[in-house]
Symmetry: C2
Subunit: 110 residues, 2 copies
Amino acid sequence: MIGTGIKRGTAELAILSVLEDGPLHGYELAQRIEKQTRGALRFTLAALYPTLYKMEQRGWVRGNWETSRNGRRRRCYSLTSAGKTKLSPMREEWAELFRALRQLTKVSDA
Amino acid sequence: MIGTGIKRGTAELAILSVLEDGPLHGYELAQRIEKQTRGALRFTLAALYPTLYKMEQRGWVRGNWETSRNGRRRRCYSLTSAGKTKLSPMREEWAELFRALRQLTKVSDA
DNA sequence: CCCTTACATATAGGATTCTTATATATAAGT
DNA sequence: ACTTATATATAAGAATCCTATATGTAAGGG
């Protein structure tokens, strides 16, 4: 798995990206990130929840409480239009970092 | 310029990478990183110095005090063999992050 | 001669973003 | 009855960056 020091800052991009494919609740979001990267990128829920609250305050995501038929409460997060708008420049900034590191070193992206 | 939150963790890779091309002192190291990335990646010296001290303690770099003919003191950092050995796995881990983010989102690396 | 800019290193204090550990609670499987 | 999976929440701590501040030399312009 990718170490903490290196993956720092990727959580927001990861959350917005997976929410682009449809709403998810927090627990499922963590699994999605892990599976979609084949276990390479992994976040604890203790990291994801505060990040989601912050992103909700910024208006990038909206969390709606749900009560499933079993009476289980959980919050379903969906991407807002403001969040969707944020994705492009955020991707571009990450692409910029990739280019910069490639100019400095020989990081292969195979 | 690339934001703080995103570039976190890149300093060590950047330092090792530019030192691979030859010894440099701290001040020059900051300029090198900035120029070689066309200003995209930039670190303050207040960030670089403590990082260099930490890397020296780990044995990845060695800092030798120099006194130029003007009597100006400065420390010249060079890559040790241990530091050289660290570069490959570090590059690989960054490449892993690139792959992971590409699997999650549509970060172009043009 | 003085002032500003460039060179050069150093540390303190603060922000951000992760971690582990802890807490609570329901549902399902053995 | 016990454990695992589901589900959210917070506290305490580590790591890495920032701005601000400190110190001092060298070079160039007015």
